[in-house]
Chain length 211, copies 4
């Protein structure tokens, strides 16, 4: 009976991963749709097309920021799923809540692309990222308490995963807090933080915080 | 020959799961697209943007309700697939019919988001949910009769799965029946039922009904 | 060296299946997007909404027909993939061509939903279905000649798979040939053929033709 | 500890493949959406519909070219992933960057479909393809240096993979360089190169360059 249960739970973990991969793939593709192809009727020359493409820069930057965000959280969720021995109903629903926040990223991205200079848009974006981090933190805490982790998931691993989320969320909050000065400062700061997570986790002190 | 057949059928079960995960992932992402980013031209101040976002509340509630619906039925289908030892043509087509109903959720959600106060929109939404439950019920009954269940799927499991669908569908029907009073009552009732399934299945009496 | 090659090829088969499942899932969801939610501004009463939904009937029928088409070809491709021991470059590209035809189904479906009474739209739809069947036939013939089938794939299996495609394509062609009379005859005939494949393959004589 | 790490890394490779398959599947389907169904209101006869479909030819060619592009890079990425024994953070991010370039293909395709005769549109398209090839090249070089390849990945395999990318990118660059003459020459040349990769890698000399 126990063996059966574990097998069922294990399969559930695989399907949770499959659903997540699918949802991330779609969100990563949909955010590009906010970069609209310029209308043919308004453009009569190569130069005009070039100007129209240059005018898309804020949207392209927003796209790259959101792709980095989704990439970071995809890696983060994957790291957790790899540490789970099995799942239960509650953990599945925590991850469905996480995916609900992933699915709203195209909206937040579109809002920020349309209203780049508006603090409200930036705060909505930040709230979305905050939910992503918060739910992922809750996922780990719950899985640890409910005994769903693999035996190989040591205390050090657990501490590292929790610290990573806390530090990243602190940095995102600092980025968001810069928006009264200027939303571009916020966006620039957040992109730098994300690039650090994605590209350069070798800086001493920072390296420890990334898994 | 028999061994070969089982292996083929087994692979079919995996691919049915993969197709389902993909389709659920897309439906879960597309329902967000009904939350349109406000148009840049109509909005000149932070306050106006804030008002425009507040005006999106019905759509956000509809989105959350549909995400919960899709999550509940994803968990429900997964529970069944985990109990199947193999599949056959008929079971595959029952699940394709189920997926056809999943694929129409973005339409029903969009309709309800656009016509929140219309009983017709709520009934269309309920019919969609009714199909989801009905087909899933048919799937289990067929799989049981055709001997496609794992040996570990006991009578108790079978009774629990069928009871869960019947109780949930009864609750959804009660929710829909409230619409002559007011569609907001219906939506509120359905969201409460769904939150119970997703978050709090520990209430005595209700706990038994959820798998 | 040979062992390595087989392992690589095997993984390729899995990924081909994963790509196909993803693409089918998206196509199955996108065809629903042709059923547009009526515009809020034009509709002032429950009755008007009801009429607007009834007016969507041709689109709903087209959606169901396309879902059946995609379901049939998904089952058909799956049956083949299950019979392959491994894949090679050529087989992969044959299936990519198949997927290119799957990806155009939302276009063909949208065209037929918009121009239901136009023979041209019906012929485009039929050409799309013809490509699906033709490429799937080519896939099997190539795999057989290149020795990519499992040993368990007997001559009978091979004959049944080829016959099934030929019979189905003949029936589709008959359906398309009815369009000079009336496109509704064509659509009705094709839907009947498809329902037979999906629901009722127990009719003697027809049963043998479906896998 | 080492065993655990390898298991985690191995799972990561599977999920990277799943994310990639999902993203390719979506990109392959979204590029079709640039082929818009003609508007019902503007068309009154079969002949007018036929003309409207003929007028879609540039978009259909663009679609086929992009599908070929995506197919070629899907096969290319798959070939690499099959040669990896495991992944690490850096390799995962290289492939996320690759996927970011895949996700922009619908935009580049839409731009070229809308501005077929504009050199700027063709250069944007080429830059996108150049990123795809460049990142895939970087992926292999990094994996080789970091010791992430399977033992079965011989020097010959490595040389072949790198040569394939370099030759293909050279041919794409030649195609792009033809655009001052005429963008149709560029598109025609690129389609021919792609068809060679997809269909006819038996031409002596060329066969060696394709994996």
């Amino acid at each position: 009976m126990n063996t059966t249960y574990n097998r069922i739970a294990g399969t559930g973990l695989e399907r949770l991963a499959a659903l997540s991969d699918g949802l991330f793939a779609i969100a990563m593709t949909l955010i590009v749709l906010e970069i609209h192809v310029p209308s043919r009727h308004a453009i009569g020359s190569e130069k005009a097309l070039w100007s129209a493409l240059v005018a898309l820069t804020p949207r392209i930057v927003t796209y790259l920021m959101s792709f980095l965000t989704l990439g970071i959280f995809w890696v983060g969720q994957q790291t957790q799923l790899n540490q789970f021995a099995r799942t239960d109903r509650h953990l599945a629903w925590i991850h469905l809540a996480f995916l609900a926040a992933v699915a709203t990223m195209p909206f937040s991205t579109g809002l920020l692309a349309e209203f780049t200079t508006f603090r409200t848009a930036l705060l909505v974006y930040w709230v979305n990222v905050f939910f992503l981090g918060g739910i992922l933190y809750a996922s780990w805490v719950y899985a640890e308490r409910a005994g769903l982790l693999k035996e190989s998931a040591s205390r050090e691993v657990s501490a590292a995963i929790k610290r990573r989320i806390l530090v990243a969320q602190t940095l995102y909050a600092i980025g968001a807090a810069l928006c009264p000065i200027n939303t571009y400062w916020s966006i620039g700061f957040i992109v730098l933080v994300q690039l650090n997570y994605a590209v350069a986790p070798r800086i001493p002190g920072l390296a420890r915080l990334t898994s």
